[in-house]
């Protein structure tokens, strides 16, 4: 392979590789952004619908003062074994992450079905070499 040949192969590979990798991944950005937008909009609409339904129920129950007090005081669905202190701590953590309570509303607190901390540590350990 002479110098000119080497230069041609190198330049064409750099150009091809660079442009294709970027083009494919930028296309993926667009696709993910698009479907993320669609799903978020659809889910927000569903949440809004749900909120409207709850609001309507609250308005209805305004005629029954006892029920109003109960719902207003406990907006968070309490799971068995979840004390007010725990709810307060989780709310504080959420507040500290978001920095404001304007857009955040805790509706329920429940244990996630995700991995335990030990399981997570195991997975992390297994993924290290790859």
């Amino acid at each position: 392979m002479d110098m000119m040949n080497k230069f041609t192969i190198s330049a064409s590979m750099l150009l091809t590789g660079f442009s294709i990798v970027f083009a494919v991944l930028i296309f993926l950005i667009f696709i993910i952004w698009l479907y993320g937008k669609i799903i978020t909009t659809a889910q927000n609409k569903a949440i809004e619908k749900k909120n409207a339904k709850i609001k309507a129920e609250v308005n209805e129950s305004k005629q029954k003062p006892k029920a109003v007090v109960k719902k207003a005081e406990t907006p968070v669905k309490e799971e068995s074994g979840l004390s007010d202190e725990i709810v307060a701590v989780i709310s504080a953590a959420v507040y500290s992450m978001y920095g404001s309570t304007d857009k955040v509303k805790i509706k329920s607190i429940k244990k996630s079905g995700a991995r335990s901390a030990w399981s997570n540590a195991g997975v992390l350990n297994n993924t290290r070499p790859f």
Binding site: V21, L25, I29
Partner: protein
């Protein structure tokens, strides 16, 4: 007297067949290299899950080269066959002229058969299946711009390709060497088996060694290319990603990449299949098997057989030294390009992106992301970049598979 004669003959046979007579100096050097790798894996804990099987494969093949021997068939006359095997029954017959010859098979060594999974490109996609089942693409879905950093870190692959061409490698070999810069072991092995199988041992060992050295190689590059102010940037919390988005993600990725770059389909397809069985939540058993048992079994087979390709005559050459130097260059270039693109994103977003997450675009999941986190915390102890760095990190896995698809398509 006859007993003594037979005894001495047996001793002579054992001695001439022993390693003392059959091994050459290169084998002994490689046994030493294997021992150094044992030390690094056990004492220093550098990638022990892979380095240990690789080192053991290397040790065994240099002690007993026939463990990688291919099967063959010898044609024997009836007389020779009876002398060697005691019978001619059960052997296929070949007629040459009017003479009958018996096909006496000699089976291959253990690693020869296990190596077929590497040679035929079976193990790397299966490893990707397990990686997919362990990976959370949430940070990437929440911030798809991370793909830019995942793409930027692949530039090292193509720049190293140029270096390899000018150092005298063929274009296919240069492509296989360049892929070390992707910092993705299975991808490096997959591409090398297709483009330059003769370099597999050196490339696999270089790739895994540099992945193990990520915490040492990357921080100086990251610090040299960024200012104190840039490193201290605190990034905004990522938006939560719904389960539906996570389920759709692997399906979309596999469709798009397989249509655009079919050569990347085996790697990306298995990566996304693994991720789908995890995220769907309906195939928990499959997900657990892919993450644990299957992954571990394939790791053992892949590691030992890749190590077994590093025989003395193959490995101890000037080409290996060139590959090790070029691999390091590829890795450093990839990390540097990631950080530089991170800096561009920092400028474009008005200081909202910490450029340190760019170096995580070189795959090496999740170690490269941990390095971004660590270097960021050195500047600002209250800074948590890990989840932000995981975006480019998993984008790098997809990016290196795409780069592999490009190399295979152009050079195969």
């Amino acid at each position: 007297m006859e007993i003594l004669e037979r005894f001495l003959k047996a001793l002579e046979g054992i001695f001439t067949g022993s390693g003392l007579m059959t091994l050459n100096w290169q084998n002994y050097v490689m046994i030493g290299v294997a021992c150094v790798l044992f030390y690094l894996a056990i004492k220093k804990q550098y990638e022990p899950l892979l380095l240990l099987p690789i080192a053991f494969g290397m040790l065994l093949v240099n002690l007993y080269p026939s463990i990688m021997a291919a099967p063959e068939t010898t044609l024997m006359s009836a007389k020779d066959c009876i002398a060697a095997k005691g019978t001619t029954d059960g052997y296929a017959v070949t007629m040459i002229g009017n003479v009958k010859y018996y096909n006496v098979p000699h089976y291959g060594g253990l690693f020869y058969y296990l190596y077929q999974g590497v040679k035929l490109g079976i193990y790397p996609p299966l490893i990707f299946l397990g990686v997919g089942a362990m990976t959370d693409f949430g940070p990437l879905i929440a911030n798809p711009k991370s793909f830019i950093l995942g793409a930027a870190a692949q530039i090292g692959i193509f720049i190293t390709f140029i270096g390899a061409i000018f150092l005298g490698f063929t274009d296919a070999q240069a492509g296989a060497i360049g892929i070390i810069g992707g910092a993705d072991g299975p991808t490096a092995i997959y591409v090398t088996t297709k483009l330059a199988p003769e370099l597999l041992g050196s490339i696999a060992i270089a790739a895994y060694s540099y992945m193990a050295l990520v915490p040492i190689i990357q921080p100086p590059i990251m610090k040299a290319l960024t200012t104190k102010k840039e490193r201290a940037v605190r990034m905004e919390q990522l938006r939560p990603v719904s389960k539906l988005e996570k389920i759709i993600f692997p399906i979309i990725i596999v469709i798009v990449i397989s249509i655009l770059l079919p050569d990347a389909a085996p790697l990306v397809g298995m990566l996304m299949f693994g991720n789908l069985i995890k995220e769907s939540g309906v195939a928990d058993r499959l997900s657990k098997t892919a993450q644990n048992e299957l992954m571990n079994i394939i790791t053992i087979f892949l590691g030992t057989t890749v190590g077994a390709t590093a025989t003395g005559t193959n490995f101890l050459s000037f080409d290996t030294i060139k590959i090790i130097v070029l691999g390091l260059l590829a890795f450093m270039m990839g990390s540097a390009c990631g950080v530089l693109f991170g800096k561009i994103m920092y400028k474009v977003t008005g200081g909202k992106v910490n450029p340190l997450i760019g170096s995580a675009g070189v795959s090496a999941v999740p170690m490269a992301a941990r390095v971004s986190q660590r270097v960021g915390q050195e500047e600002n102890p209250g800074n948590f970049l890990l989840m932000h760095a995981m975006g480019p990190n998993v984008a790098g896995v997809i990016g290196s598979a795409v780069a592999a698809g490009v190399l295979l398509n152009v050079l195969k």
